[in-house]
Symmetry: C2
Subunit: 384 residues, 2 copies
């Protein structure tokens, strides 16, 4: 049997539309900044993709600033913000940021289902210094848990009118329609900015965008990468024309899939998987199942059976899944996200993530469930 | 007649080897950070390319940190340096940097041929604060002028032992063998770091690398883009696997060309071009001709005839050339580089750059010379 890829949240296979757009872009020799015919042709590719990405996000094309990925977009937002705040369930690219104060996590409460809210520790004085920035992912990459979009109400609850929010929607883009973009208001001038990534929607790796809110300029966040003034003076460096072409085509295809209800079918497969596992492994915990989740993601922990061991056993059996986020250069440790949700070390270390995509079939899902349950039986026998 | 592309310094056509490597990489689905078979296959692509780039540069593969281009590599070097210094002939990505002090230029003298040296203004006290960084491009993108590699001697002349130098070799890589890497010494721990770019050597746009000297760690320069810890903890964000594959293949092909003497043939074509122009336009100034130059670059100014006009006329006639650097989003103004070399506004505004590459033929060069001289005659007639 050929390999079964069930790790779409780590990266999705390149869509055929993206491949074709990239092939076409390879024949265009020019630099988009050059004024001659070859340069204009390259620029046209970038601008076409900008429109395609904007259409998927639901924003103005002028708001799209192409970057080398969502991680760079997050770095741009964090750069030169006076202070950033983020709950401990955020992605490494937020958590690792040097401008994140150590006590940032105190500001947030994380429920067992992964829902983030402000704690009593958060007080109005924190929100009037000037240039604070709050990161709120739309969907968690490990658990698929969706964060509520009604943050402004929450803010009012603690006595402030608004604040600056940057949303990491890398994992949500293309999988759900509502990206939770907070409508821009005067008192939250960058409240509507987003980070997106091409390779999570079937575009190439190493391309993404910062979706800049109407109030976004290179300050209040200064420009991270300066130089030739590409991307309307907001991000310098010769554009990744081939990659951007692939991003645009993938965005168009992803929008079509979303419209066609492809992710509702994927959700059914995910539920079939969880039911199959649940029926025969009754001590397995489905993380975040009580919350709204991405339709394709299942994170489940089987205490006493290390996630990394499961990943290796499934790999040998022909299935690609993951333990935690892929963006960690193969490091093996218990899930920070699960620990933040209140799970103990044993549970957090025994979690795996199975994430499906448009090419996933019911046959593949059932084959995985069978293989996993077989391994589970063996593990149970060994442990007994 | 089909179009003739003579703007290799802006960007080179994608090499066939790069295209093939990128196509192969498109079939590999994994994220290089994933531990399963698909992830390991993606990682192998990145590591193969790392070796290919290292072989062209002449460095250890571990010194190669892949980035979204040379501009990002420069930003990484500048980030968190206490102060950077650069002569006004440097690339926009150096000059635009916010950490460049306004009087930085005072430290340098630029000769009429574009050669940079320290001025009397430079004094030892500038070099002992801690974390100063000097940028010295190897080859100027507009003029092709090569900077002397004997900087340490110059430094000793002004009474210091050494300093930290970062070399922008984006334009030199693949065109000349000696990248002017300054041997690492204890007192110049990052003296051997370089910025390189894929698309100048026939790889894709939007990929490059910082070649980190032995003393390089995320400090003394802090990490510009933080997160998952890719690139051995020195640059985060999921790798541009397809682009990196193309970079590697282009580097291998470029190394072969260099070895085979391809650039000596290109130099002959460049000289044929200059002789043809010189013979019939005796007021045309060949910029930097008195200095060592890249073999493929000709920058010439014809006072009274605007460079941008020449670029447009040649574009209509079927030739892609440029006025100044391409990395300026189509902005039209006189060359900053030429003004720094002591040319007046009239000369600086009338310069064009013709840059050749491995695919350039003598027929193309002569066709360009004829077309340019024909336009020159018309311009002379109009001006008379």
């Amino acid at each position: 049997m050929s390999r079964v890829y069930l790790d779409y949240n780590a990266t999705a296979p390149l869509r055929v539309e993206a491949r074709e757009a990239m092939l076409a872009a390879m024949d265009v020799v020019g630099n988009p900044s050059s004024v001659h015919a070859e340069g204009r042709a390259a620029k046209a590719i970038v601008e076409k993709a900008r429109g395609q990405v904007a259409a998927l996000v639901g924003c103005d094309p002028q708001e799209v600033i192409f970057t080398s990925g969502a991680t760079e977009a997050v770095a741009m937002a964090a750069y030169d913000s006076d202070e950033i705040f983020a709950a401990p369930v955020e992605h490494d690219c937020v958590i690792a940021n040097e401008t994140l104060p150590e006590d940032s996590a105190k500001v947030f409460d994380v429920s067992k289902d992964g829902i983030v809210s402000f704690t009593g520790y958060a007080h109005p004085s924190w929100f009037c210094g000037g240039n604070e920035l709050f990161f709120f992912q739309r969907a968690n990459s490990e658990t698929g848990v969706l964060q509520d979009v009604s943050m402004p109400q929450t803010a009012r609850d603690i006595g402030i009118d608004g604040f600056n929010v940057f949303r990491d929607v890398a994992q949500a883009l293309g999988k759900i329609a509502d990206l939770g973009r907070i409508p821009p208001r005067e008192e939250a001038s960058i409240g509507s900015s987003l980070a997106v990534s091409a390779h999570k929607i079937g575009g190439p790796k190493g391309v993404g965008a910062l979706i800049a809110g109407p109030g976004y300029t290179p300050g209040p966040f200064n420009m991270l990468i300066e130089g030739g003034g590409q991307e309307m003076g907001r991000r310098s460096g010769t554009e990744n024309v081939i990659g951007i072409a692939g991003f645009g085509a993938a965005a168009e295809a992803a929008a079509r899939d979303l419209e066609a209800g492809v992710w509702e079918k994927i959700e059914k497969l995910r539920n079939i998987l969880e039911s199959a596992i649940e029926a025969r492994s009754n001590d397995t915990i489905f993380v975040g199942k009580g919350a709204e989740r991405l339709p394709n993601t299942s994170c489940f922990a089987t205490p006493g059976w290390k996630g990394e061991t499961q990943v290796m056993q499934m790999d040998l059996a022909g299935f690609a899944i993951s333990a935690g986020s892929a963006c960690s250069s193969g490091k093996v440790k218990s899930s920070r996200v699960l620990r933040a949700m209140g799970y103990d070390e044993d549970v957090a270390a025994s979690a795996i993530r199975v994430s499906l995509g448009p090419e996933t079939t019911e046959q593949q899902v059932m084959a995985f469930a069978e293989a996993w349950l077989k391994a589970r039986d063996k593990q149970r026998a060994r442990a007994a």
